[in-house]
């Protein structure tokens, strides 16, 4: 930071300025008495001492006095002085020159000190910005190290949050935070002692305070994130409880009510049959819900191990359709001929497809649920569409989250989450496309192995 001004250049400047002034005085001698011309050398003294300090200023003063004496004070060409008044003039000149050198040198030193402090203050401010504003403390420390190196003109400075010892090339300066060692500042071994002192006296304490503040901030940030996560998980838990209790209670209410009604003796055979069918339907629904809950907990525990085998998408879709009650509009299935075989857990994929179909049927009203399968490079696409109300763009991803239901109480909020779980466990993907008001299409992407089994493929092609 302290730009040392070369003494050689100072010497040269002193010599040149004295020479120029000596020459100029030849002209001045025509108009003013010689005794008065000495004051012009003060310019040289002022110039040199303000830039190169007191010592160089004094040297300039002596050189100026000598030159003045030799070239201008009679007898010229010699270092002797004839007249007494010229002695006095020379002495006054020297004293004044020394005084000016001193003042200018001191002013220069103060200016330099002020400049140094300003640079250090800039450095501290910059480090504060880096350490307190940055997201990652380690990254910020690297940047701060580079900044310190630039300020002190050092080849490299690294600030580490670990304990490192001095080595052959580098000197370790410990960084203390709250009384214990929190890290190390590594500077080159040949760092100037003045720079070292500035670092230790002023830069390190600032750095220590900043690291302490940054660590505190990180701690608080972590706490905030944890608190938020906790609150969110509580919200999710409440949603899960509400959803499960609603989904369990609805079939249970229907069953209890219907079962209670059966005990009436006045009931007609027809009414009795209707109550019995309510009980049967709702029991199936309840058991499907329990299956779904078990599936979901298995998926969430990562306990789903697909038993991969060759299977055809046509068979998967057919058995999924058969496992469901037929919706009012029915299922409209169109599967391309000669589709490649998949290698996956057939039972799991069937459940995934059935869940998506069931979900689509719920929103389809009297319209049919469309099922389309076609081949794409290295994969197979299964599109299941409904003509329901559609889904808003921001909801599209959330429909695959467990217990996310549109809030009308109709869905279990589990089916699509389970479908995604099984699909992903088998290397597939699921996504939703929707235009509000025009229905929703759920797209299942299934990976197709490059090598198809020869015999099975032949069979499938038949």
């Amino acid at each position: 930071m302290v730009h040392k001004r070369s003494p050689l250049i100072g010497l040269l400047a002193a010599f040149l300025s004295v020479a120029v002034i000596t020459g100029a005085i030849y002209g001045l001698r025509e108009v003013v008495p010689v005794v008065s011309t000495g004051v012009v050398y003060m310019l040289a003294v002022l110039l040199v001492s303000s830039r190169w300090g007191l010592a160089m200023g004094l040297l300039t003063a002596v050189m100026g006095a000598a030159a003045w004496n030799f070239f201008h004070i009679p007898p010229t060409g010699r270092f002797t002085i004839a007249e007494g008044e010229n002695w006095v003039a020379l002495a006054v000149f020297l004293i004044a020159a020394v005084a000016i050198s001193g003042l200018a040198g001191a002013a220069r030193a103060r200016a330099e000190e002020a400049e140094t402090r300003r640079r250090e203050a800039d450095l501290t401010a910059e480090m504060a910005r880096l350490l307190l504003g940055g997201a990652d403390l380690e990254e910020s420390l690297r940047a701060a190290g580079r900044r310190v190196a630039t300020t002190f003109d050092l080849p490299s400075v690294s600030i580490e949050l670990s304990w490192t010892d001095s080595d052959q090339r580098r000197r370790a300066l410990p960084l203390l935070v709250e009384g214990s060692r929190a890290g190390t500042v590594m500077v080159p071994r040949d760092t100037d002692p003045i720079v070292l002192e500035a670092l230790q006296d002023r830069v390190l304490p600032a750095l220590e305070t900043l690291v302490a503040a940054a660590r505190k901030r990180d701690e608080l940030e972590t706490q905030v994130i944890e608190t938020k996560a906790l609150r969110r998980s509580n919200v999710v838990k409440t949603a899960v409880l509400r959803s499960v209790s609603h989904d369990l209670r609805s079939p249970l209410t229907a069953i209890t009510t219907a079962a209670g009604g059966l005990s009436s003796e006045t009931l007609s055979a027809e009414a009795r049959a209707e109550l019995t069918s309510v009980i049967a339907l709702e029991s199936t629904r309840l058991s499907r819900l329990v299956d779904n809950l078990l599936d979901l907990s298995k998926l969430q525990a990562g306990a789903v191990e697909p038993h991969a085998d060759w299977c055809s998408v046509e068979e998967l879709v057919r058995s999924a359709v058969e496992s469901l009650p037929t919706p009012p509009g029915g299922f409209d299935v169109q599967i391309d001929q000669g589709l490649p075989l998949l290698r996956a857990d057939a039972a799991q994929l069937e459940r995934a497809i059935a869940n998506v179909l069931d979900n689509a049927a719920r929103y389809s009203g009297d319209e049919s649920v469309t099922v389309r399968a076609r081949a794409a490079p290295k994969q197979l696409l299964l599109r299941i569409g409904d003509r329901g109300p559609g889904i808003a763009r921001e909801e599209l991803d959330r429909i695959f989250e467990p217990f996310h239901s549109p809030g009308d109480g109709s869905g279990t909020g589990l089916g699509l989450a389970i479908a995604r779980g099984f699909l992903e466990a088998n290397g597939g993907l699921i996504r939703a496309e929707s235009l509000p008001g025009q229905g929703t299409t759920i797209v299942l992407t299934l990976p197709v192995p490059a090598e198809q089994p020869a015999e099975a493929h032949a069979q499938a092609a038949k």
Binding site: R242, S245, H246, R249, S250, P251, L252, T253, A254, I255, T256, T257, A258, G260, G261, S264, T266, L267, A271, E274, L275, V278, L281, E282, D408, G409, S410
Partner: protein, 223 residues
């Protein structure tokens, strides 16, 4: 034949209720959404309504409030554990009673009949319930032949409860009718007056026969 409107979004619950209520001698009309319920209530003039609290396009509370704007038919709401707040709001919005899911059909039919009886009652100058005589016009109360002295507020409270006997009155409804709407949140006042009233009219205030508590919701006078 008494016509009952039943509104629930669950098809199977609706089917079961239709069979059971028909068997109990009611004519049943059904609805699956709040809008359908309001339309049916307006067009088919039911004598009573049974509403599920949670409906796809709204809730039973709003349906209660809308029906109450023009009709005094008895309204029962179906609520579930965990829906206490909604239940109280539905009662405040004008519902007469609630039945908690899952419920036995016997209970539902009994509550429905009680509500219908209440609705059919004419204005009465005096009420007599199981040994307690309340002379509404003369402001006198006689229990087992002995006159009971009540403060004016205690009498007002007893009168409101007795005129709605069998019906669950929420804290809010009682406070509003007896003390005025500014006091609707002042449940402590209500609790103190109920305790005083019980001491005076009940044989055993610890096991009240006339004024029953529905915890967290309100009080019901025995019918």
């Amino acid at each position: 034949m008494t016509r009952v409107l039943v509104c629930d979004d669950e098809t199977q619950i609706l089917r079961a209720l239709r069979v059971i209520l028909r068997d109990a001698g009611f004519e049943v009309i059904t609805a699956q959404t709040a809008q359908e319920a309001l339309d049916a209530a307006a067009l088919q003039a039911p004598d009573a309504a049974i509403l599920d609290l949670i409906l796809p396009d709204g809730n039973g509370i709003e349906v209660c409030r809308s029906i109450r704007e023009w009709s005094q038919i008895p309204i029962l709401v179906l609520s579930a554990v965990g829906e206490e707040e909604e239940k109280v709001r539905a009662l405040d919005a004008g519902a007469d009673d609630y039945v908690t899911k899952p419920f036995g059909p016997g209970e539902l039919v009994a509550r429905l009949n009680a509500a219908l009886r209440r609705a059919g009652r004419a204005e009465e100058p005096s009420i007599s319930v199981d040994g307690l005589e309340i002379d509404l016009a003369g402001h006198r109360v006689v229990r087992e032949g002995e006159e009971v002295h009540l403060t004016p507020k205690e009498f007002d409270l007893l009168r409101v409860l007795a005129r709605n006997r069998g019906r669950l009155m929420t804290h809010r409804a009682l406070l509003g009718e007896v003390w005025g709407h500014a006091y609707e949140e002042d449940t402590h006042t209500l609790r103190v007056h109920i305790a005083n009233l019980r001491r005076k009219v009940e044989a055993d205030p610890q096991a009240p026969r006339y004024i029953r508590t529905d915890p967290g919701v309100g009080y019901r006078f025995a019918s």
